[in-house]
């Protein structure tokens, strides 16, 4: 299965057409909506997913997050999340 391979740094992930990502005021969180279901994302998952619009590479996405949260060394965590997100079909690359 292709999901097993780790996501490459130049890949540009975007939210899969099977899901809709939106901010929910009542839940104060980003959610993924799909037929008769919902995944509530935690804060960091939301920050990553909202940047998955096909315009940024993984490297660019990480750089943006590191700048936004004034931190370093997020690459491994983000890549791990994106691998999981791809296995769940939340994102396409």
């Amino acid at each position: 299965m292709s999901e097993a391979a780790s996501i490459v740094a130049t890949a540009k992930p975007r939210v899969s057409a099977k899901f809709r990502l939106q901010w929910e005021e009542a839940q104060q969180s980003w959610v993924l909506l799909y037929p008769e279901g919902m995944v509530k994302l935690n804060a960091s998952a939301g920050e990553i997913m909202k940047r998955c619009d096909g315009s940024r590479s993984v490297d660019e996405l990480v750089a943006e997050l590191e700048q936004a949260f004034d931190t370093r060394g997020l690459h491994a965590d983000v890549a791990r999340f994106l691998d999981m997100a791809r296995a769940q079909h939340w994102i396409e690359v």
Binding site: E24, A26, Q27, V31, Y34, P35, E36, M38
Partner: protein
């Protein structure tokens, strides 16, 4: 646990799920329908403006999934208007339909309105299934509707209520769902409420039937792999612990019936001594957080033994309040599916009959098909029984 007796309002989450039962009108006559058996008593339906207001209020209260159901929701010609507003408000919009009444023009209008998903159901237990299995009228209809679903880019989700009379054809049902291009197939065993309860002895499968169906379903999962995701739901009568009904009373689900009655689940209206508000008299937020009906079974103050001291009480919340009322005569009792319930024998007896029932018994008791005429007859019968 030392939780406060009355849960503070802030601990109640929003009504994430809105089930909009926009009509009881339906071209089908399913013997397992969960609509109330006295549905003929509902003569007035909420108008378009009322529904639009309900959608806005529910969305403002935090609802995010909206299912348009019924009856057959396509029976209302303002469905497209309601879907458009729901989508505009940010709902994920689901249409639960048999496909009867879905034309190319309506499918296009629903797509234009922003409908996110159609769940196509096989509804009728005998006529329709037979048609379907023999590739006749119903199969042609489903094939046509499935093609429309694909053409409009909707995910293809099929649902078939499983019971004693169709469970032995489960391989055909799965294969045909694959043939129609379904990506998801829900094989949900009938639950015994309303019309299905009237027909329980005819509909509850035997243990042997269920085991065979599960085995076949697993084989088909292997065979089809990623082509289709199949969900198989066992009837809770065969469990020893109850389901966490509606994920807990007043926890995520809000049903609004065709006449505007707001309920914590689609069958809760049957519960005696409880009043449920109407969206015409009360706003959705107030209904959800403040009404007596929605607060009745929140928290655990209402629980009796064996639930009260049960270590699993948060896991299943005592099961289903309607099932407790129907089978144990007390909506606050443990769901008799639980083997700790003093009324568990009622479930065991029904299960026992299911192992023995034969075609002779089925002939003795014909299926009661859902419909306005039958409903009127049942209402009159109940009135007669109350009088004597």
């Amino acid at each position: 646990m030392n939780a406060p007796a009355q849960a503070p309002a802030t601990s109640i989450g929003p009504p994430l799920w809105l089930l909009a039962e926009i009509t009881y009108r339906c071209p089908l006559h399913c013997a397992f329908c969960y609509n109330p058996t006295d549905l003929a008593a509902t003569t007035e339906e909420l108008g378009t403006e009322d529904w639009l207001r309900v959608l806005r209020e529910a969305r403002a209260a935090g609802s995010v999934q909206c299912a348009f159901s019924g009856g057959e929701p396509l029976a209302r010609d303002d469905l497209e208007v309601l879907v458009a507003e729901a989508r505009r408000l940010g709902f994920y919009t689901n249409l639960l339909t048999s496909g009867v009444g879905l034309t190319e023009a309506r499918a296009a209008a629903l797509k234009e309105a922003g409908l996110d998903h159609i769940q196509l159901s096989f509804q009728d237990s005998t006529r329709e299934l037979n048609d379907f299995l023999s590739h006749t009228r119903t199969f042609d209809l489903k094939q046509k509707v499935a093609a429309m679903i694909k053409a409009n880019g909707w995910p293809m989700v099929m649902n078939c209520v499983i019971h004693r009379l169709n469970i032995d054809y489960i391989e055909n049902i799965i294969d045909m769902a694959v043939e129609l291009g379904a990506e998801y197939l829900e094989l949900a065993n009938s639950q015994y409420y309303s019309w299905a309860l009237l027909n329980r002895d005819q509909l509850l499968p035997s243990r042997e039937q269920i085991e065979r169906a599960e085995r076949i379903t697993n084989e088909r999962r292997q065979r089809y792999g990623d082509r289709i995701r199949i969900f198989f739901v066992v009837p809770d009568y065969y469990e020893t612990r109850p389901k966490k009904c509606m994920n807990g009373w007043g926890s995520v689900f809000l049903t609004v019936t065709p006449d505007g009655t707001a309920l914590p689940c689609h069958t809760a209206k049957m519960l005696p001594g409880l009043s449920f508000p109407n969206v015409g008299d009360m706003g959705v937020r107030e209904i959800w957080y403040d009404s007596e009906g929605f607060n009745r079974f929140r928290g655990d103050d209402w629980m009796q033994e064996p639930c009260r001291s049960c270590p699993e009480k948060e896991k299943d919340r005592g099961g289903c309040r309607c099932q407790a009322f129907m089978l144990a005569g007390d909506a606050a009792a443990a769901d008799p599916v639980c083997d700790k319930s003093s009324a568990h024998h009622v479930v065991l007896e029904a299960v026992d009959r299911a192992q023995r029932a034969d075609s002779h018994a089925l002939r003795e008791a014909p299926l009661v098909f859902r419909g306005p005429a039958e409903s009127k007859r049942l209402i009159a019968e109940a009135r007669e029984a109350a009088r004597s």
